[in-house]
């Protein structure tokens, strides 16, 4: 406590730059924060953020909720019902807009403006965080779900040296691997994994089709030829996966993958952190983008965000301001992404340093390029593209399709349309 007093002074001095905070000089900024609990790198990154917050003189009160995302949301809902929402909570994608309707949030427009933030991040992301025209939430980090991890030992076995650029090439390599006794696809069989593989296929076939079908829910696109093609590709993935993988986490396969018994993993950038946690060597893995038939990069984005709930207590409001300011800072984002293996939200971060991996640099480069060419897409499987009811309904269809050979791609596409209809209904 004593040690932190000086830092506290420094922190409040920094805060004084913002109007409306000057009054709260007397209080120590405090934040109550609810997030889903994670034992992995995500948890470590949040802890790091908290430490940083404390260094700036704040009090960091974090309640990580164990269990699934729904458990966290139940907790958040209970707190909101009780009239005692946390100062900030984890929330992502369109749910930010949905939840912002049930309880008052904090308008952080002045801070965002002061940071010149809007010019630095993809517009898809901006819209999600200012649902009613005001900033009420901030992204913490960005992941690309369209990352291809290739096992170098497996590549060596079949004599492949380069990553596939198109799905045709991918299928060729997979067939070769299968022939060599390697399980070509190392993904797991959980719901989100099933959904993610379809989104990877579709985005890799046509960026526009993805935007139309998944993000705009255009029924024509949902039944269009690209979607059918993607569904066919998704079923191919399934045939190339370990047949026993249903309901299993992809990380179960990582040891086999690193040995070269399994070939390719389509996963978000976070898998790098998991491989490191398992004691694996990233040099054994080729990290790149998944194939894209159009030949132009596309970035399917998954971002963790934080929403700020309205509180009257001066220390909490001060804490919210401090936290928001920190989250937009380059150095904070760098530290965060270095911990998790994601890439920073800001597109102006230099990733050439030794603390960054090739995978992160590649992803970041793709993001920058996609940002410019407007080819950033939002992930369906990670609740970025649609609200939870629609996402859940769509994933229900996809996961059934993937596991049930009796459903044809055309039927699955038609089911997607009705499911979405029904979910909205």
């Amino acid at each position: 406590m004593v040690v932190q007093r000086r830092k506290l002074l420094a922190g409040t001095a920094a805060l004084a730059a913002f109007p409306g905070i000057a009054r709260s000089q007397a209080v120590k900024p405090r934040v109550t924060f609810i997030s889903q609990w994670s034992s992995g790198s995500d948890g470590a990154a949040i802890t790091g953020l908290g430490k940083r917050f404390e260094q700036e003189g704040g009090i960091w009160q974090h309640s990580p909720v164990p269990g699934f995302t729904t458990d966290m949301m139940n907790k958040l809902r209970a707190e909101i019902i009780a009239g005692n929402p946390p100062a900030a909570s984890q929330l992502k994608g369109p749910e930010i807009a949905v939840w912002s309707k049930i309880a008052p949030t904090v308008n952080i427009d002045p801070l965002v403006e002061a940071a010149g933030y809007e010019k630095l991040i993809p517009s898809e992301l901006i819209d999600l965080h200012k649902p009613q025209g005001h900033w009420i939430a901030l992204p913490m980090q960005v992941y690309r779900t369209t990352t291809l991890f290739m096992s170098r030992p497996a590549m060596k076995k079949v004599g492949v040296t380069k990553a596939p650029k198109t799905w045709a090439e991918f299928n060729e390599i997979a067939t070769a691997m299968k022939g060599a006794g390697i399980t070509p696809v190392a993904n797991g069989g959980m719901r989100w994994d099933d959904g993610m593989r379809l989104e990877i296929a579709l985005s890799g076939i046509s960026c526009d089709a993805y935007r139309a079908a998944i993000m705009n829910l255009d029924p024509k696109a949902m039944k269009g030829p690209e979607m059918i093609e993607a569904l066919v590709q998704a079923r191919k993935f399934q045939k190339w996966m370990d047949p026993n993988t249903a309901a299993q986490h992809y990380s179960v396969h990582l040891p086999a993958f690193l040995k070269g018994d399994m070939g390719m993993l389509m996963m978000g950038g976070w898998a790098q952190g998991v491989i490191k946690n398992l004691g694996g060597n990233l040099d054994d893995v080729l990290i790149t983008s998944v194939p894209q038939n159009e030949g132009k990069p596309v970035f399917v984005l998954n971002a963790d965000s934080m929403i700020f709930w309205k509180r009257k207590e001066p220390d909490l409001t001060a804490g919210q301001q401090l936290l928001a300011k920190l989250m937009m800072q380059k150095d904070v984002q760098e530290q965060y992404s270095q911990t998790t293996g994601s890439i920073p939200v800001r597109t102006d971060v230099d990733l050439s340093g030794s603390k960054w991996t090739d995978g992160q640099r590649e992803a970041s480069a793709v993001l920058n390029e996609s940002f410019k060419s407007k080819r950033v897409l939002l992930s369906l499987a990670h609740n970025m593209a649609q609200t939870n009811p629609i996402t859940a309904a769509m994933i229900d269809v996809i996961t059934e399709y993937v596991h049930n050979d009796k459903v044809t791609p055309e039927q699955a596409a038609a089911q997607l349309v009705t499911a979405v209809d029904n979910a909205r209904g």
Binding site: S63, G67, N74, K75
Partner: protein
């Protein structure tokens, strides 16, 4: 004749012991895994003899493993669970015993209707009650407290304890109550002096039932407590859930599961003998 008798005897033992092995399998797996390292498990299967005794799984699960950024293992959560289970079990059992005693031995207008409603509570799915409880707790200002969980489990538990106690007390001869009334004992004296001393079999059953039920509750515990206040199931789930970005920790998980299950297992092992006796009395009526 004698040989077929012996053969059938062997058969009986074979079936019983075979079933026992099946029943023990998960426990055995957990016990063995709790001594194995994650690497070891990954190399072979979850079924396997530990190559060495990895006590560190226990040490880690009990006192070091980081749950929700607190690297104190499940220990603090165990205490939370005790702080919640003990009062909730005692209060709900006591109230259920009193209610069961009244319904079975005193009779009052509307008692059967009341009883039917209370027993319905045993059958309500938990998920259904989550949001109503949130609203109630808001009115009471009890959000995020252990008191809230004690309240929830007491109110919900009365359904079960009343059911079992009533069914048991129905078997107490009415003459005893009459005799006590003639002797001048009132409602409470009859309860404490006559009925309570007869109750241990059923009280053991309800206590075991409530204790394990409340100890193992997860949904309410996670939703209505926060951070360091959470019960041990929350910590267990934390260890067991694998988010996309995490790695499963079978060894530590096994150790934590065992440690967290110890109180309920002990309650069963110690009370099991009486459990059987009270169970039928309570359940079959």
């Amino acid at each position: 004749m004698a040989s077929t008798l012996r053969a059938s005897r062997w058969l009986i033992y074979a079936v019983l012991i075979g079933t026992a092995l099946f029943m023990l399998m998960p426990l055995l797996v957990v016990v063995l895994n709790s001594f194995r390292t994650a690497v070891e498990i990954g190399r072979s299967s979850v079924i396997g003899w530990p190559t060495g005794f990895a006590w560190e799984n226990y040490i880690s699960a009990w006192g070091h493993y980081c749950i929700a950024q607190r690297c104190e293992g499940i220990k603090p959560y165990m205490w939370n669970s005790f702080a919640l289970v003990i009062p909730a079990t005692i209060i709900s059992t006591l109230l259920g015993a009193i209610a069961g005693y009244s319904i079975s031995l005193w009779r009052f207008r509307g008692d059967t209707t009341m009883y039917a409603i209370v027993v319905m509570g045993v059958f309500l799915p938990e998920q259904m009650k989550l949001i109503p409880w949130a609203l109630v707790l808001r009115e009471l200002g009890l959000n995020d407290t252990i008191t809230a969980l004690v309240l929830i489990h007491t109110v919900q538990g009365i359904s079960f304890t009343t059911l079992f106690c009533r069914n048991y007390y129905v078997g107490i001869p009415q003459d005893l109550i009459k005799a006590a009334k003639v002797d001048g004992a009132g409602y409470f004296r009859i309860f404490w002096r006559i009925v309570m001393p007869l109750s241990p079999p059923i009280l053991i059953v309800t206590v075991i039932w409530q204790f394990t039920g409340i100890w193992n509750d997860f949904l309410m515990g996670v939703t209505f407590t926060a951070g360091s206040q959470q019960p041990v199931t929350a910590a267990l789930i934390a260890i067991a859930t694998t988010a996309p970005t995490d790695v499963p920790q079978y060894g530590v998980q096994s150790a934590a599961v065992l440690l967290a299950a110890l109180p309920t297992l002990l309650v069963y092992f110690l009370g099991g003998r009486y459990f059987l006796r009270g169970l039928t009395a309570g359940a079959v009526k």
